[in-house]
Amino acid sequence: MFLYLPVALTSVSILIILGIGLSIGLLSGLFGVGGGFLITPILMMLGIPPTVAAASGANQMVAASASGTYTHWKLGNVDFKMGIYLLVGSFIGGVLGVYTIAFLKLLGNADFIIKLTYVVIPLTVGGYMVFESLQSMRKARAGVTDELTKEESGFKKFLKTLPFQTDFKKSGVRHSALLPVIIGILVGILAAIMGVGGGFIMVPIMLYILDMPILVVVGTSLFQILFTVIEVTFLSAYTNHTVDFTLALLMLIGSSIGAQLGTILSKKMDAEQLKILLALLILAVGIKILSELTLSPAIHLTV
């Protein structure tokens, strides 16, 4: 059965779109990522224009992140204090990102740098996570506990010297209030350059730099994504008229259910399993982008 999309001006199979929504929701409930880096290219393959794909993807993510945030909040997995600091940072970062793009364009090689970011970031982040997970698995097998071997790195010691140290009770960590704001700014800039929400950069940073427990990372990331996607949906609908609500509605029915299933599944898996799965997902995204960029396209024209 097919449904016609009034803004995308094309017709799609209802089951395929529900399925895409379900898978994206599952990923967000499991890992706290928005899935923007997956939705846009998948929808484009179905003949949906890229701007409509991105905006409608953000619209459906409002439901998936609301669904996921609510359930994770009920499970005690949302650190609102950390989330708000990160949000403030990423808002500033988003604005700075727009200027960064303008600056790169002035230099004349904006596209190249943007594409390079697309490949380097997921490959580095994913690669590091796999390496880290394998190492801790090996240690666990050798019977060495983390606490004994883990010496605090110079970088982490430096973080402790930053001013405005404060407790983030839900995450069980103590950091400078500046740290999440700065991280938010950096991720916001990268996200603006790459045109995605930045969940797959934010989640590893919360895990490895902010030292937050993985389930709190997922819950807090979803909370933050909820605000970002509301903003993106409104701006896209208001300024570019690119939100296709019919498309978003189909996807969000799937993704809200997917987010619930993902959350249930995340409770059943241990932290190390979750981390390695997320790492593999991020690596796969990096490899997919790399192959897209290096393999000769079938048609040398695009919309």
Binding site: P6, A63, S67
Partner: protein
């Protein structure tokens, strides 16, 4: 007197010739017709394209070409090129004087039944489209050929261009010959006005043509949503967000209870 008689003969001859010509032309040209079962395609919620039947009477022994096009216009597309190791968008190409939709159906291969001049004159076939397209900023002819081929590939992939030779069937009904074709109207064709033209061909020349129009428009809920999205973006955005929030929270509550 003699001159008067001559004039009379000439006048009668001219009259007879004219009436014979008129009779002949009515036999050769007036028969061609183009009928369709739907001039208006409505896009509603479950729309996934349509089937349009085109048919009519034709002169025995003639070949036929049916062309369906949208008005000529301009298409802007991004060009993909290699920078270092990466394939990326390297610029924008403007294709002028090309229709957004172009379908060609015929009884035989168009090149076998039409002269190149006739094909160019009536814009029949990709090669004649290529003659009239203007691609900027391309100057070199080899580059033009390359990008026009890419353009056709892109359009065919989008379901908006197609050439189907030997696709029109002609049947004899008594003394009359009738042609018929069922066209899969693509769901990718945007709302607008399209023209279907049937050409009757003899001795590599077009001897007659007939036209009909096909209009595609949005209706019902599809039209309401499209209008709201384009005319009332702020309200549309808010409604989209609120419904998404309600569904999101609603589904989490259902799961919580179960």
């Amino acid at each position: 007197m003699r001159t008067k008689a001559y004039l009379k003969v000439i006048a009668v001859t001219v009259l007879i010739t004219l009436s014979v010509l008129a009779m002949f032309s009515s036999v050769a040209f007036a028969q061609l017709k183009l009928d369709t079962d739907q001039n208006s395609v409505k896009i509603d919620v479950f729309y996934h394209g349509s089937t349009i039947s085109l048919s009519g009477a034709t002169d025995p022994g003639a070949d036929l070409v049916i062309k369906i096009t949208s008005p000529e216009g301009e298409s802007k597309l991004r060009e993909k090129g290699k920078v270092g190791f990466f394939w990326m968008n390297t610029g924008e190409l403007k294709f002028k004087h090309v229709p957004n939709l172009y379908f060609l159906y015929s009884t035989k291969d168009t090149k076998d039944i039409l002269s190149p001049e006739e094909m160019n004159k009536h814009v029949i076939g990709y090669s004649s489209l290529k003659e009239q397209v203007e691609i900027s900023p391309i100057k070199k002819d080899s580059e033009r050929t390359k990008w026009f081929t890419e353009f056709v590939k892109f359009k065919e992939e989008s379901g908006l261009y197609g050439v189907s030779p030997k696709s029109i069937s002609v049947t004899k009904k008594g003394s009359e010959e009738r042609y018929n074709i069922n066209i899969d109207w693509p769901f990718q064709a945007p709302p607008g006005h399209y023209t279907a033209t049937v050409y009757e061909i003899k001795n590599k020349k077009i001897v007659d043509k007939a036209e009909t129009s096909i209009s595609v428009s949005q209706a019902g809920l599809v039209k309401t949503i499209a209008n709201m999205a384009s005319k009332n973006g702020a309200l549309y955005g808010i409604v989209s967000i609120v419904i998404a929030l309600l569904v999101g929270f609603g589904i989490s509550l259902i799961f919580k209870k179960s």
